[in-house]
Symmetry: C2
Subunit: 357 residues, 2 copies
Amino acid sequence: MTEPSGPASKKTVPVKGDERGRITINDIARLAGVSKKTVSRVLNDHPLVNEETRKHIKLIMVEHDYHPDPQARALALRRSFLVGLAYDNPSPQYVVNMQRGILDRFEGTDYQLVLHPVDRAAPDHLTRLRRFVESHRPSGIIMPPSVSEDEAIADLLRELDCHYIRIASLDLDTPQVMVRTHDAMGAAQAARHLASLGHTLMAHIHGPNSFRSSHERMSGFQEGLAEFGISLRPDLTFEAGYTYETGARAANQLLSGPVRPTAIFAGNDEMAIGVYSAARNAGLSIPGDLSIVGFDDTPMAARIAPGLTTVRLPIRDMGREAADAILKLVNGQNSPSNKSFQPEIIIRDSTARPKQV
Amino acid sequence: MTEPSGPASKKTVPVKGDERGRITINDIARLAGVSKKTVSRVLNDHPLVNEETRKHIKLIMVEHDYHPDPQARALALRRSFLVGLAYDNPSPQYVVNMQRGILDRFEGTDYQLVLHPVDRAAPDHLTRLRRFVESHRPSGIIMPPSVSEDEAIADLLRELDCHYIRIASLDLDTPQVMVRTHDAMGAAQAARHLASLGHTLMAHIHGPNSFRSSHERMSGFQEGLAEFGISLRPDLTFEAGYTYETGARAANQLLSGPVRPTAIFAGNDEMAIGVYSAARNAGLSIPGDLSIVGFDDTPMAARIAPGLTTVRLPIRDMGREAADAILKLVNGQNSPSNKSFQPEIIIRDSTARPKQV
DNA sequence: ACGGCTTAGGAAACCGGTGTCATAGCTATT
DNA sequence: AATAGCTATGACACCGGTTTCCTAAGCCGT
């Protein structure tokens, strides 16, 4: 045996008809009676091609169902048709919706989404990202929070001259390369909802201080309350880890404290569900004794009893927009799209007027 | 401006230092004083290379942190370093865990995971898959259920001479190209658990008949019951859609029927949560009046009250194994790994002895 | 000393596209 | 008329690897 041969490579003589094997740009060129360079120009929408010629070539391409080889283009263009998703969000719901949105936009294009989970706790995560970019030369990288908030990562990508889009809840240095979420606005809606129900003594359990979204949501909540002349008491704000367990722990502590609020705004649904558990432990009924608002509108919010009032961020739409922005960057349209997406409060059964109004 | 030029292509004279721009196989060859073909042989572990030469070249590669360009190899080898995940499972939890498992295995390799959601209801889904495979030439495709159960898809991949691994709960035609899940075994455990608690009148809500897993789980449940001399009554088995809503609907119907079971085994957790909702509607307490068992061990199972007894399949492990199998296939090791993974029953608070024992 | 076999390595074509540069045919300007 | 400038196209090298084919050296038996 010579070098190990592929499993079913039958050594098909490529001569003979133009069938037998994939058709290439050479085939199209021959069929159209032009050079491959002209076909290449048509492929890339180069302006200097006669309209007649262009139509003729396009027709032939369609007739033969020709699609250029992305690998070859990648090699020649020194840029692949791969877009990386660099993420570290622990919520499956979030990740999957983001993926769906991106894939929505890529549908019908030649672009593919490749996954690159980032573990920012690992010392070599920057090296791994660098290797990924250097070797696979993705056309771009999409970063949802909290990867998007990491300046070291953004610096690296800039150094590597790699397009990227950051999805974040605040304005970040590099303009025009981000999709804006309005976490603060959503949190403000939660505040207004609770305040207008008559709550005045409210607690807040927020995510880790290292996440910008934690701050955004908290300050948005405060702003919303301020409209009603209410201020958030520091002794009623707790930091947790955006997880069920930490949310439950914080709520247990909170509910066994000296001051008992009539409502709790949790920084995400996971923690809100943790609050449910703590409320059960404390013998409190929801929403009778305690109103609860979450953030994210995970599927669980609708399924749990009582249904959780929460804030929905259009994650899928944001993914779609981010993908669109990457495509525009790749095509050199540096349009300052910088879109932002409005959150929406979903009112279910976990919020009601406080008892002693 | 001529054709849009790459951002930083300064026409760097490649002579001079070996820095300035990525280093290629030619650089390594020059530095080692051999031809590029010899370097290529080292890269591919070709046997006919002198041990001295090989070591020398490898050393140089490490020193200069050389990594061959995947795009170029893809072009030459007519095979990329991309592995596709063709999936249609609606559960984010499932999808994310599968992705994690696969990525676990790819870590440290040059392989990347690209997503290819499949909508088998769309008339062109086969065309889209074909286009993906033909144009990107993935090294392989991993298919979890229920895509894995689609023979048309498997036929297509075989026709395209594309490696694939199917993850499925039953033996499928092509041997040695699958990872086996044991849904039936898990369902049998659920049956034994309920039967040994003393239940004798049990209902089953299963997934769509078009999913093999529905049948596997049902027949496994029946086998488990049979060990206790119990048989599943046909009038107490319902088909639903693996979703919360359909599960709730089936349970409502079931609980308002003439025969009231003391336990319900739902084909997945989503439907089991739907049963919770129906039980609340019917004023039944869980597990006092009704025991419930689910399947999947989604995060929700642990968070809902009362905690849902359910069957856990090691999805992440299965993903890892599938990725491993793909790698073996690519490397020509046609080892009949055909591994299978044991399910595990997680007992929480939704199951108890029936009231009137 | 010669042919045959095995081992080690190189030259050049190739994978399927793209960039650079040259060129032919026009029209517009001087 | 000659020059300049634009349009439309092609020849050819190139991207960074792999493959095919070939050569040269070393060892063996006769």
